[in-house]
Amino acid sequence: MTRSAYFRLAALALLTLFLSPTVQAAPLSIAQLMTNLAKAPQGAAAFTEKKFISILEQPVESSGELLFIAPARLEKRTLKPRPETMVLDGDTLTLERGRRKHVLQLKDYPEVAGMIESIRATLAGDRKALERVYHLALDGDTERWALLLTPLDAKVGKVIARIQMSGSRDVVRSVEILQADGDSSLMTIEKRAP
């Protein structure tokens, strides 16, 4: 695997970053969900992520903290099993593990950029940006919704089969990613008291 593929996939994992505060009720359309999500300026949460990898007998688990600061900063701080940090700020993605640190520019990795911008677009409630890369389908009601993202872009489609985010009102509870090779991951998010 080349280094750029590594970063592409690492960035992909950022897709699993999520949060959103404030709450509203009532029946739900994509437009409304977006509006609700857009109202969240920032938030911190704990996450647990399970990866189901074909070559392993059991899923591997990791956990840590998530932080979103609108409009453009996402942080994923993994604490277990190994400390690791991933920060997306503007167009710059920074990865740190042990003493190693990588800094890269999103626009050098168009496939990754498409996916990550989409996630940020979701958090920012930017439906237009989201629909440039994904086909959106919303299921359920305000209390219990599920947003299904299917890549439109072929490059993204080579890595990702689909992403399903589910939540309640304006809070994202879980992000499930199905990779094109059949491996998958499920991230569950517990919002912490502010």
Binding site: Y6, I55, L56, Q58
Partner: protein, 784 residues
Amino acid sequence: MIHSRRNGITAIVLWLIFLLACAGIISRTHFTTDLSAFLPRSPTPEQQLLMDQLRDGLASRLILVGIEGADAPTRARLSKQIAQRLRADPTFASVNNGEPVNAERDRAYLFDHRYLLSPAVTPERFSEAGLHAALGDSIDLLASPAGLLVKSILPRDPTGEMVLLLDQLNSGSQPSLIEGAWASRDGTRALMLMQTRASGSDTDAQQHAMAVIQQAFNQAAGATAAAQLVMTGPGVFSVTSRDTIKRQVTRLSILSLALIATLLLLVYRSFSALGLGLLPVVSGALAGIAAVSLGFGEVHGITLGFGTALIGEAVDYSIYLFVQSEQNPADRQNWLKRHWPTIRLGVLTSIAGFASLLLSGFPGLAQLGLYAIAGLVAAATVTRFVLPSLLPANFRIHDVSAIGLILSCAVQRAAVLRWPAAIVLLAACAIVVANRDSLWNDKIASLSPVSQADVELDTRLRADMGAPDVRYLVVASGADRESVLRTSEQVSARLQSLVEQGELAGFESPSRYLPSAAMQRTRQNSLPDRPELETRLAQAVQGLPVRAQLFTPFLDDAAAARSQPVLQAADLQQTSMAMAVDALLIQQKQQWRALLPLTAPAGVDINADHLRTALGGMPNVLFVDMKAESDRLYSGYLNEAIGLSLGGLAAIIGLLLVVFRSPLRVLRIITPLAAAVITVTAGLSLLGQQMIILHLVGLLLVVAVGSNYALFFDRPDPHTPILPRTLASMLFASLTTVAGFGLLAFSNVSILQAMGVTVAPGVILALMYSAIFARQSDACPSNV
């Protein structure tokens, strides 16, 4: 009379032959401008290494390129276009701009030889416990975003050797990528790093490389008027300093010739006198260059710069002849009798002063000494033996006795200034003593002809690039490649522990990319045979979420690695590691050297003592701090030059004592010279200019030139007045000297400027002090 006429013709013929010979030698002379003039003639091992590195080390061959202006996509496109073109050009050993051109081959080299290359391959690593731990780590990595890297290779590389090798390879900080090409941190500049095949000391080749880069930039399809190319690096520096020195020396020679010619025309009011007066100068300059060329095999640009200034000094002799002897041949015979001995003594004192420089271990300084001696002797000889015969019978210059008379009266009154002069001198002494610790600049950088702006550009690009400054090096020497690689492995082990203690940020080693054959075999022997490895692996996976069957490819690879042929240098070809090994592993005649550049922790210097202790006792291993070494080298020279100058002064005093046999008289001659030297030194100190070695040469020149004045003022009998014509000639002589050296003071090459600011005021002061402290005659003379 006929006899003297025949002598004159003989002298002229000899002189012409001499000039032809000089011209012949000069036409075959090699001119340099690099730092070689400042490197020692008999170096220590550390100095030898320093010199080799400066001449053709890794760092000397790097050219850092920046593309500025326009927008980021344009800059990146230009960078890629230039790189594509230059990669095909044999001028460059490598061209890097962050594009992954060798990525596939690099990856294949590392992956296929991971068990020979990885420092983690030890018998313990492949024991049950070792395998269990390594597998656990790899599975942890799977959980991380980086895990996607290892997912596909886990069955073949469960112990994670590849990840370790990649981490090691990327340990240097690299610039970030913008639009697929390296860019500065602030994103305003695209960056490229090139390595020339030619060594950094090959200035012509470096100039060619720069031209090739510039051409590639100009002809790149993406070039726009807004985009600009900047270059820096040791080779670039030698090219630009050569250009600067060449340009300045040319301009200064023309200017000072023009200035001196104007001055002489004003005095002589005769073109033939001007032309004749310049003959000794030209002869002196040719003799100087030819002598240096013969003595050193090459002539440094600085020596030529010094030569232009010496024009102003060499022209003095013809001034003395023309002005002091004035109007008729009989008078000139009289001049030879009356004044020539004084001038000859002046030339001898100059030689005595400069001869000391010949002993310098610093070829640059010795060149100046030789040039000055040869030039002055030739100029004086031509003035004495050739020039009088060349003068036409009706030769006349403008009558300057009016100026002489005015000077005469001024000199009479100069005694009034004795007390003020004494006070100034005392103050100067006080300043010199008070600032004695900061008088000298002992940094070698002070000699560099590179401009401040260029140095700043270099610092900026280096910081952007994270390029190694190659200040600290560990060097392992040995008889063959294998032995230096083995030594570097031992050194690496000790350095690694310093990295872990935080003493070092990191280091490079050729053995990282090409381990010694012995080390490779040791690693092969660390791998158990296949049945044994299979058994251990079955135990190792206990408690881990994987099945042993998954790792069959690993068993295959490990078994193959056990009998794999060991890596040779040739296996590296076409990978980006080849360049690193080329740069770090050097064969010189029968000697091999491995270089291990060290990186200091951010913001801290490396503690040399700790390092030497850590490496203590290893034979053939040397730790070198290049900066400290070069500064030490230079300050050694400075001390040597100060000693030699004092020796020169002693030689002058000795010479005068032998000639005059009167300590008091010698004291009277020396006092104004010493006063001038002290005053100039104090003045430089007041102006905040720290003296470098060339200031010292300047001071020596002040003594040499000033001794002529002091000798003219010196008379055994105080009642004999100094002839007004003599005074006038001294004034003109000092004016031409000031004009010649004064121009140097405006040079932006620090070494030329240093001589200028010392000699120009020093000569005037020497003349004034000589007049003020001369013994007084009784009255203003009415006429000659």
